[in-house]
């Protein structure tokens, strides 16, 4: 679908990327300043690579050697900006029509009414962009991009400027767009949680370099990107199965590598389904034996199979049916006299687990 090989230099920043995307939705993941937005500009034609080529569905958009450079208005690639960039001098309906009226009738894939209904923005049409809330602006921005009938959609951190509550209101709309409209898209974000709501196919970028592409697990796993998971706080990310709920105690029970673990009770967990759960290695404590009279709900039995000193302490790898990474200080490691093959209990508060993205089938 989209493939590219580009080089781009501005001042000290250097970007080199080479990858191909084939999934309906791909998450472009990276920290701020990693080159995500630059890459977006290159794809959309808002900036030009110094060297290389870009290909969208067997259509050369850019080729430095062949001197091909399709201007952005002819690329038919929709962009949704983080700060929405609605035109302040036009009311919402004129904003929505801006791209719509610029394409030929027979090339239009969506009608106004369809998109207005899908995004539930009918009551906003006569308003000015300045009269809208952040979430409404983002929906109008999305609708405006869709009404230009793009063959590819780039979403540049569309939720980053919104607070958590609003994010959760907008995400369902993005899912609707993904499920109902069949436009391939790239979702750019520094939040793995947001990305996993829409897709688990990733391109990971750091410092202008593509670190890896592929399925979430391939990128994150042992054969994935070295050190990537831990720098992102995703070193312990597992797929767990929801087993049941304990309403009185306020816990949800899940199965992780054959262990029963307790998560904070939430109705979003559906029994029998799976979800990604994550726990930071520094939030796990180690005990030599089972501890009674403690508020911590999870005491998972495991066996140390490896440990590595690092700058701040010691990284201990514990087999709990799968590998669990735990960070302890040197003092704690010495006090407990930990050795390889020791049987230990891993102490994790239910509240320390976070659930990433959507509930999987």
């Amino acid at each position: 679908m989209l493939s590219l090989e580009v080089q781009f230099q501005r001042g000290n920043f250097n970007l080199e990327a080479n990858f191909a995307l084939d999934n309906p939705v791909t998450g472009l993941f990276g920290a701020s300043g990693s080159g995500k937005s630059t890459l977006l500009s290159l794809i959309a034609g808002l900036a030009n690579p110094d060297k290389g080529w870009l290909n969208l569905s067997d259509n050369l958009l850019f080729h430095s050697a062949k001197k091909i450079n399709i201007p952005p208005d002819k690329r038919n690639i929709g962009v949704v900006f983080q700060d929405n960039q609605l035109f302040p001098h036009l009311p919402v309906n004129k904003n929505l029509q801006y791209g719509y009226k610029r394409i030929e009738k027979k090339q239009r894939r969506f009608e106004m009414l369809e998109i207005v209904d899908l995004l539930e923005i009918g009551h906003l049409l006569k308003k000015r962009p300045t009269q809208l809330s952040g979430g409404e602006k983002q929906r109008v921005g999305l609708g405006r991009a869709l009404l230009a009938s793009p063959r590819f959609l780039l979403l540049d951190e569309p939720l980053a400027a919104l607070d958590q509550g609003l994010k959760e209101q907008i995400l369902p709309f993005l899912k609707r767009v993904k499920d109902e409209l069949e436009i391939p898209m790239v979702y750019i974000s520094h939040s793995m949680d947001e990305i996993l709501h829409l897709t688990d196919h990733l391109v990971v970028i750091n410092n202008g370099r593509i670190l890896g592409t592929g399925h979430f697990y391939d990128v994150l796993g042992e054969n994935g990107i070295q050190g990537f998971a831990s720098t992102m706080g995703l070193e312990n990310t597992f797929r767990a199965t929801i087993v049941g709920h304990e309403l009185e105690s306020g816990l949800t029970i899940a199965n992780l590598f054959g262990n029963h673990i307790f998560l904070p009770l939430s109705k979003k967990y559906i029994i029998g389904k799976h979800c990604y759960i994550s726990i930071r290695s520094s939030e796990i404590a180690i005990a030599k034996q089972h501890i009674k009279h403690i508020s911590i709900q999870n005491q998972i039995k495991g066996k140390i199979f490896h440990f590595v000193p690092n700058e701040t302490g010691i990284t201990v790898y514990i087999d709990i049916g799968g590998p669990l990474v735990v960070n302890v200080t040197r003092k704690a490691f010495a006090d407990l006299e930990l050795r390889e093959s020791d049987e230990v209990h891993c102490l994790i508060k239910a509240q320390s687990f976070s659930c990433l993205g959507k509930i999987l089938d």
Binding site: P72, F81, D83, Q85, Y98, P129, T130, R144, A148
Partner: protein, 231 residues
């Protein structure tokens, strides 16, 4: 009591005519130059910027004299104009328009440049990604959003034109009914005996004109900022 003599009236009308025309002829070049300086990087940009600002910093008499050397009947370019088209700018109200336009051009450009540079480039990029050509984007996004700055530029240029003295008197002289604008008329009346009453009447006219221009610009600016939806 407050009745203008035909001479005074003609000075006022001439001033209005010259100032209006000078704003009209510099409007389009002002928008283009303002955009060029706000949005483009090119070799010689600072040189262009410097040359544009010269009329602001040079003594107006110098600017007027330069115009005379260039566009006067014997001037470098003026002689060609005369021989080819029979046009003389010196000592005609057309020349006064040229002189005031040149003097007020930098004010117009500064104001437009400032307002264009505050428009986010991303907004223009959004328009491009929605299928608008660069040209179309300029007219549907950049220009409407720059309207408050353009209006401010026009008013500043108009006010500057009303007050222009040095370049005008040097380039086109002080001919009654042709090039004697308000400031020139006031100057003339001060020079002659019994002229002070006329001078004072024109003084009042000048204050009224300048003040109305300011009020008008304030009104329009508020209207347009509301219209483009900015806060």
């Amino acid at each position: 009591m407050f009745e203008l003599t035909p001479e005074e009236y003609s000075a006022m009308m001439l001033s209005l005519k010259v100032s209006t025309w000078s704003v009209i002829i510099i409007l389009a070049p002002g928008i283009f130059t303002g955009w060029l300086l706000a949005r483009r990087n090119f070799i010689g940009k600072s040189l262009l910027d410097g040359i544009l600002h010269l009329p602001l910093v040079l003594p107006p008499v110098v600017t007027g004299y330069l115009l005379l050397l260039l566009l006067g009947k014997q001037g470098f370019f003026g002689s060609w104009l005369y021989e080819t088209f029979g046009i003389t700018l010196a000592f005609s109200w057309h020349g006064a328009v040229i002189a005031t336009a040149l003097m007020s051009f930098p004010l117009m450009v500064r104001s437009i440049r400032l307002s264009i540079s505050t428009i986010e480039i991303k907004m223009e990029q959004a328009a491009r990604s929605l299928g608008a050509s660069a040209f179309n984007t300029f007219f549907t996004i950049t220009l409407p959003l720059a309207v408050p700055g353009i209006i401010t530029g026009c008013i500043l240029a108009f006010a500057r034109s009303l007050g222009e003295f040095g370049a005008t008197i040097t380039f086109v002289g002080n001919i009654e009914g042709e090039t004697r604008t308000l400031p020139l008329a006031i100057y003339t009346y001060i020079q002659i005996p019994d002229g002070s009453e006329s001078a004072q009447r024109l003084l009042v006219i000048s204050v009224i004109l300048a003040f109305s221009a300011l009020l008008f610009s304030d009104l329009i600016e508020r209207r347009t900022t509301h219209w483009i939806g900015a806060k």
